[in-house]
Symmetry: C2
């Protein structure tokens, strides 16, 4: 009986957002990057869930939270096939697909120290052109350096003002 | 109908581990620290789930994985009230409570640069005495510096050899 209650509590979302068809293994990175992991709301996450469309996928359900434009763009970089559903009264009231923009501004750091986006005197906002969507390949518009997904260093706008819960020294 | 299938896939674990009664908001840190987030197995996570015993809690279910001693100790530091259940054929075959040891060896870094545990010539393994369990207060046995939970820097044994999926510059 207790098990049954547990299930209900974890599963049902009356109002909030479902992020589905996340590339397998990316849900936790998405939560971290978007700052959603700092939420005090109920979040349920499935990692490596079997999927008909893709082999495996991740899924995130978060109560009482709707995503902003920055968060949608961060998700599109990590998982261009993700779907966003907005839930009200346990029903899907809107479905969106994330869309990777042609140029990505501010969200990613160019790690080339000599790139003018890193100029100490007059730093300018980073900007990258998307060369290929999947697997992702982007190019800095200033120094022309090319990055693959696994080489990207994100700047976390949502987390900038926050204290990390725990640091891990690798 | 599709919704029902999704639920089943996410909920049932035939074999593996359930980590329950994790302090609210610590599940993602636990997954990161223990290296469980690198698993290719099905993981379901509930964050800020309402609980009778405590107000809210986190819960992690991971298929086909059983925890080692290091992982159990890492969990005990972050969530001394956590319960571990081992599952076989959808049934709990063993229940364990994590136990915070009196001394914590190697898992935590003393950030005091002059502490002999950080000696460049002859570094020795860190060791901390647990002064208080909740809220956690530990003391380095060498330099006697005292740390609260939120000040702790962990050394991630599980992750040392691994490449991070994505870096975030704060």
């Amino acid at each position: 009986m207790k098990m049954m209650e547990e299930k209900l509590k974890i599963d049902k979302i009356s109002k909030g957002t479902v992020i589905d068809h996340i590339d397998a293994g990316y849900a936790l990175t998405i939560l971290n990057l978007t700052g959603l992991d700092e939420s005090k709301n109920l979040i349920t996450i499935g990692v490596n869930v079997s999927s008909k469309k893709y082999q495996t996928k991740d899924i995130i359900k978060i109560e009482n939270v709707f995503l902003n434009e920055t968060q949608m763009q961060q998700i599109s970089i990590l998982s261009p096939n993700a779907n966003i559903s907005l839930i009200e009264n346990f029903k899907v009231i809107e479905k969106k697909k994330v869309k990777l923009p042609r140029t990505i501004k501010k969200l990613i750091l160019c790690v080339n120290q000599t790139c003018i986006s890193n100029s100490e005197k007059e730093p300018i906002d980073s900007e990258f052109t998307v060369l290929e969507e999947k697997p992702l390949k982007i190019q800095c518009i200033y120094c022309e350096r090319i990055y693959k997904l696994e080489e990207i260093v994100f700047t976390s706008i949502e987390k900038k003002e926050k204290i990390l819960k725990q640091r891990i020294r690798l």
